[in-house]
Structure formats: C-alpha cells, structure tokens
C-alpha cells in the first residue's frame, strides 16, 4: 500500500529523480520513448491478427486511379528537391547555432548580438545569392 502511494506521488518521484543526478532526469523521456514504441507497434500487430487477408493480383497492384500501372514508381526525381534539401541543411546548421546563442544571450550581452549579426549577415548574403540565382523558384 505504501509502495503504491509512493508510485503515485508524482512530485515526490520527480524530486527524488532531480536529486539522483544527471541521467536520472531522462528516465521519463526513456519511459515515454519505450511506451511510444509499444503504442506504435501494438495496433499493427492487432490488426494483423484480427483482420482477414485475401490478397489477389488486382488488389496487390499499385493504385493508379483504375488504370493498370505502368512501370515502376522509382524513377528519377526532380533535382529541385535536392536544392531545397541542401538549403535546408545549411539553415538547419545555422539554427543549431542559434539555440545555444539564445540560451546564453543574457551572458553574452551586446557582443553576442553583434557576433550573431555578423554570422547571419554572411549567411543572408548566400540567401540573396540563392534568390537571385532563382534557386528559390519552384518551377516544374
């Protein structure tokens, strides 16, 4: 009984975890991830067990609005997507730098602001280049 009370005294558990040291705080995140995995897997397993399975050639064919499918779907794709992805990666790296900057902003003061202004200015130059070179245009 006492044990169950301890289990459901959530604030007390968190206080204990906070004192237990660094990785213990992540116990909750771990529990969340494990349960998320279970919740993602169980419905699929259940439906595999419960649902009927009567495949036929027509059912297994790719759906193309009733027209028999022609060829494979895995053809060459547009290079446009690749341009978007490369721009994304660059801005993603920039974002990764912005996070610690924002957190430490009060410590850094004016110098931090100027520093980041310079960093962004150089990248904005690249952004303007991309704009001028029509890399941001989406044309088919």
């Amino acid at each position: 009984m006492e044990f169950i009370k301890t289990l459901f005294n959530f604030p007390q558990v968190h206080e204990w975890l906070g004192q237990a040291g660094y990785p213990a705080v992540y116990l909750g995140a771990l529990a969340g991830a494990v349960l998320a995995l279970l919740i993602a897997a169980v419905p699929i397993l259940m439906s595999v067990c419960l649902s009927p399975s009567r495949p036929s050639a027509a059912k297994k064919a790719a759906y193309e609005c009733g027209v028999p499918p022609v060829g494979t779907a895995r053809e060459k794709q547009m290079v446009r997507f690749y341009v978007v992805a490369i721009l994304f990666v660059l801005f993603d790296v920039e974002t990764a730098f912005l996070f610690p900057w924002a957190v430490a902003y009060d410590m850094l003061g004016l110098f931090g602001l100027i520093e980041m202004g310079l960093f962004l200015a150089i990248l904005i130059f690249g952004y303007v280049y991309a704009w001028k070179k029509e890399a941001l245009d989406w044309v088919y």
Partner: protein, 263 residues
Amino acid sequence: MTDFIFNLFWSMVLVGGLMTVTRREPVHSALWLVATLFGLAVLYLLMSGEFLFAVQIFVYAGGIMVLYLFVIFLVAGSKEGEGRPEPKLHRVLGFVLVFLFAPIFITLLMGLKVASEPEVGPPPPAAAVAAKNDSLPEAIQLNPALLGPVEASGQKMNTLVFGTRLFSEYLFPFELVSVVLLVAMIGGIALSRKRFTSYSETEEAKMLAETVYRGVRIAPPSGEDPEQILQVFQQENLERHRHPGSDFKVFPDYEEESNDGSK
C-alpha cells in the same frame, strides 16, 4: 541501468553501421545510417552531452539524412554503371581500409565504454571561473553577474555552458563556420543549376514524344522525325510494362483471377 542502455545503443551503432555497408538497396542503407546516428546521439546523451544529443538528431538524422534520401531518389532508376563488373581496385582498397580503420574504431569504442559513467565532477571554484573570464579580452567577457549557473553546472556540457564558451572563447571558428556554410550554399546551387537545365530539357523531349505517341499531332521539334520518336517511345514503353514484384499483367484477364480468395 545506465550500463544496460549504453550497451543497447552501442550495439545499435555497431549493427546499424554494419547494415549500412551491407545492404544492396540504397534506401535501406540510409535508414540504417539514421539508426546509427540516433544510437550515437543517445551515447552522447549518456556521456553528459545533452545539447550534442539534440543537435546530432536535429542536424544529422533529421536534416542531412533527408538530403541523402533525396539524392538517392534523384539518381534512382539510372542504369549507369549497372551490370558493369566492380573494379578490382575498389575491393582491394576496401579491405585495406577496413583493416586500417578497424583497430582505431575498436579502440575508440573501448574508450567510450570507460567514459560511459557520466562524470559530473564538483563544480569548479567560483574564483577559477572568474579568473578565466578575466583572462579573456574585455569585449568578449561574460556578464560577471550571471556567472553563477555556469559554475553550478560543473562538467556538464549543457546548452548554457556550450553557448557561453562557443560565443566567447571559440568566436573566430564560429564566424568561420558561416563562411563555410556560405561556400556550401553557393556550391550546391551552382552544381544543381547546371544539372537542372539539362534534365528539364530531356524531360521536355520525352513529353513531346509522349504527346506524339498519344496521337495528338503537334509540330515536331526542328530537325527531328516524329515517327522515329514514336517508335523509340513505344519500344521503351513495352519494356516498362512489366510491373516489378507483382504478376499483375498490363491487361489482366479479370475473368480468370476474379475474387476467388487466397490460395
């Protein structure tokens, strides 16, 4: 507990890496690489690198691997290099590299094993932190009133410590990064542009051929014979009619394989 999790993700990194290099399907390789990167991120987390954990997933697993997937889709279906025997030199070189790097890799992993128990040592004395701050040039000194949290966090490499150190001590490398990113951006755009124009041209030609194939006569491109385009296209289409993985025919005999259930 920590040990168990560490071993789990350590194995995940190893298995993921092995699967990455052994899969034939490029998309599968990329997926296993994502698993490897995720495992690595968790290892960082266990070694007190909280911020590194998040950035590893945010940038590598969530950003760069998407780029990889796009590149794989971009070159999918290209027949270049298929059926050609693998050059002998590649295999030999591969083996040599494996034997060269395996010891380094194993040593590194063993090193990780020792460090698996996060060492959050006692925080450095306030005086030491203040002295270090004073030794920096005046412009990039930290706000002395706010030094408290940095001291208290000890050896933990959390976001605040990372931020304060990166933007004061490592200021020059940080600014250099922006130049590197700029170069990458310009390079990527320049390369893709060249490819893009030639690709669209071929696509246009294909579409033109298709229009002719569908029976809609339009003006042929100068100097090309529409009849020839038609023939080539029909030939290609016949080859493509086989749908991989299913025995579904182009014009199936619906009477024969009606819904008679599974066999």
